[in-house]
């Protein structure tokens, strides 16, 4: 189920040059799983902007978003106390019940945020969690310490080698000998594909697509899977490794 409600901005600040963190206060009861997203109405913009939920509790939602266009640029100008109209509880999210004893979480760029609440949930269930976070440069890194503070093993990679392991998330998997039985991933398509090809273990991957409505009505974000057509906004954004067609 999903719901439309008004939320008040409690915090909106930059984590890097282009990545911001926004904390919203309001009704969160419709968010049931990590990896779900919200769809945000913005003044003067026609379509809503889908942003994944990084973290949530009984009365707040934390979003981490990258400024990529006019909509997210507008979000970054918003002040504490201003209000936003959100659809919440959208998408299927990650399935924590599929977790194994040892779990690997892989995030690339703004694919990192939804893994934060997932890591919390897995740790709360007593699972082991290792996290690999991939960025282009040291300047783009965010949430490394936040994940470490949760108690995860954290490996950071940068493409230019300015921090952590030089290379991609798959480089870290090859070099760091991280033992895991199941993985969860969110990031750009090439990263997801590389991970899919690189891993023998089963897992879940969260995909991104341009959306119209965000709640399954417009068929704007459809993809083909081994089990028929799915909507990234409705049956996704998380797909099981075994159903993906590249």
């Amino acid at each position: 189920m999903y719901k439309n409600a008004i939320y008040t901005i409690r915090e909106n600040r930059p984590l890097t040059d282009v990545v911001w963190r926004m904390v919203l206060e309001g009704d969160t009861q419709w968010i049931t799983r990590p990896g779900q997203f919200v769809n945000i109405a913005l003044e003067g913009k026609y379509l809503r902007r889908p942003i994944s939920v990084s973290d949530y509790d009984d009365h707040t939602i934390t979003l981490i978003y990258k400024i990529v266009g006019a909509g997210t640029r507008q979000m970054a100008t918003m002040q504490q106390g201003e209000q936003l109209d959100l659809l919440t509880g959208l998408g299927n999210g990650f399935d924590v019940s599929n977790a194994a004893a040892r779990n690997l979480l892989v995030g690339g760029g703004v694919g990192v945020p939804p893994l934060y609440n997932l890591a919390k949930k897995l740790l709360a269930e007593g699972r082991e969690v290792a996290v690999v976070l991939g960025f282009n440069t040291a300047a783009e890194i965010f949430y490394e310490e936040e994940f470490r503070a949760l108690g995860c093993e954290v490996v950071v990679t940068t493409v230019d080698g300015s921090h952590g392991v030089k290379g991609f998330v798959t480089t870290a998997l090859a070099e760091c000998n991280i033992a895991f039985d199941y993985f969860y991933a969110c990031g750009p398509l090439p990263m997801l594909k590389a991970l899919y090809d690189h891993t023998e273990q089963d897992g879940e991957l969260s995909f991104e697509e341009r959306m119209g409505c965000g709640f399954g009505a417009c068929m704007g974000c459809s993809c083909k899977t081994k089990y028929g057509n799915k909507r990234i906004c409705k049956e996704g954004p998380v797909l099981k490794k075994g159903e993906i067609i590249w």
Binding site: N4, G212, M219, G220, S222
Partner: protein, 303 residues
């Protein structure tokens, strides 16, 4: 107490508000937001003979006061619509529905319309001759008076229910096409479908939409829709369902004053899932404000 009811080919609707095909699925995604039985009715997702995946993604682009879509008629096909979607729809929608049918040949239009005509849940058959997304598809039928008339005749020959032809605005003279459909036996018309549009991602130097072009809809197209509804309603004597950029109860009344008997709400449903509900609820107040007792009295009232 104002009267919001309207009559389409003998079918009395509680109100003229009809979510447009392609923005409302089969109602399933909206029934969780509100009781969709408050609507006049709705037009279900454009259905073809075979199941279709549609176009590659991205299929959606943001525009000023509107959006472009190039979904490409993704639908489960007529067999599954009849076997699964209609029975499921019955569990949450107790009014007749408008069946939106698309095709790639005269035979396909006739086949699907003949099949759907037998379904008791269908009140009107809306024939889409205007979807601009499919190569060699609906576009060619909707852009020529002869082809549109040929589809109309073929469908009328195999159906008993009212047949409304949904027209494309991507033509030089929509009145000529409307009149050709009327002469061929159409019971009504629905206009307008989306306008062919395009956006470019200037950073990537590529079209935003994978299919390059798509159908532009949303608030921005409302004045064009009002103009075309006005022109067609003046020239034809069959009912017109007005469609294009409708977002408010005031828009509904304006469209009806231009000549529409009922009004479809499209892209607004995607922006705000409650859009059609809000319009239905605001309509009586808006009528009172404008001194309208019976909505039917204002149809085509503008000279």
């Amino acid at each position: 107490m104002v009267d919001t009811s309207v009559v389409l080919s003998g079918w009395r609707l509680d109100n003229p508000v009809i979510p447009a095909s392609g923005t409302f699925g089969f109602g399933n995604e909206f029934k969780d937001f509100y009781d969709i039985n408050i609507l006049g009715t709705f037009s279900f997702k454009g259905t073809t003979k075979e199941p279709r995946f549609g176009n590659p993604t991205p299929r959606i682009a943001e525009c000023t006061a509107g959006m472009i879509n190039a979904v490409g008629l993704q639908n489960p096909g007529i067999d599954e619509v009849i076997a699964k979607e209609l029975p499921r729809m019955k569990t949450y929608f107790n009014k007749p529905v408008i069946a939106n049918i698309s095709g790639f040949s005269i035979e396909e239009y006739a086949y699907c319309c003949e099949r759907i005509d037998k379904e008791e849940q269908v009140g009107i058959i809306e024939v889409n001759v205007s979807c601009p997304n499919v190569r060699h598809g609906g576009m060619s039928f909707g852009t020529s008076p002869e082809a549109a008339a040929e589809v109309t005749r073929a469908v009328k020959a195999v159906t008993t229910k009212p047949v409304y032809i949904k027209l494309s605005p991507n033509v030089t003279d929509i009145v000529a096409i409307a009149k050709a459909c009327e002469a061929a036996g159409a019971d009504g018309l629905c206009l307008i479908n989306t306008l062919l549009g395009m956006r470019i991602d200037t950073m990537r130097r590529q079209p935003v939409i994978a299919n390059t072009m798509g159908g532009f809809s949303g608030a921005a197209i409302f004045p064009l829709a009002v103009r075309m509804v006005y022109q067609v309603a003046k020239a034809c004597s069959i009912p017109v369902i007005g469609c294009g950029g409708v977002h408010t109860a005031s828009d509904v009344i304006e469209m009806m004053m231009a000549g529409a008997t009922a009004v479809e709400v499209g892209a607004a449903n995607l922006v705000d899932p409650y859009a059609s509900k809000k319009i239905v609820e605001a309509l009586p107040g808006e009528m009172e404000r404008l001194g309208i007792e019976r909505l039917q009295d204002i149809i085509g009232i503008v000279k």
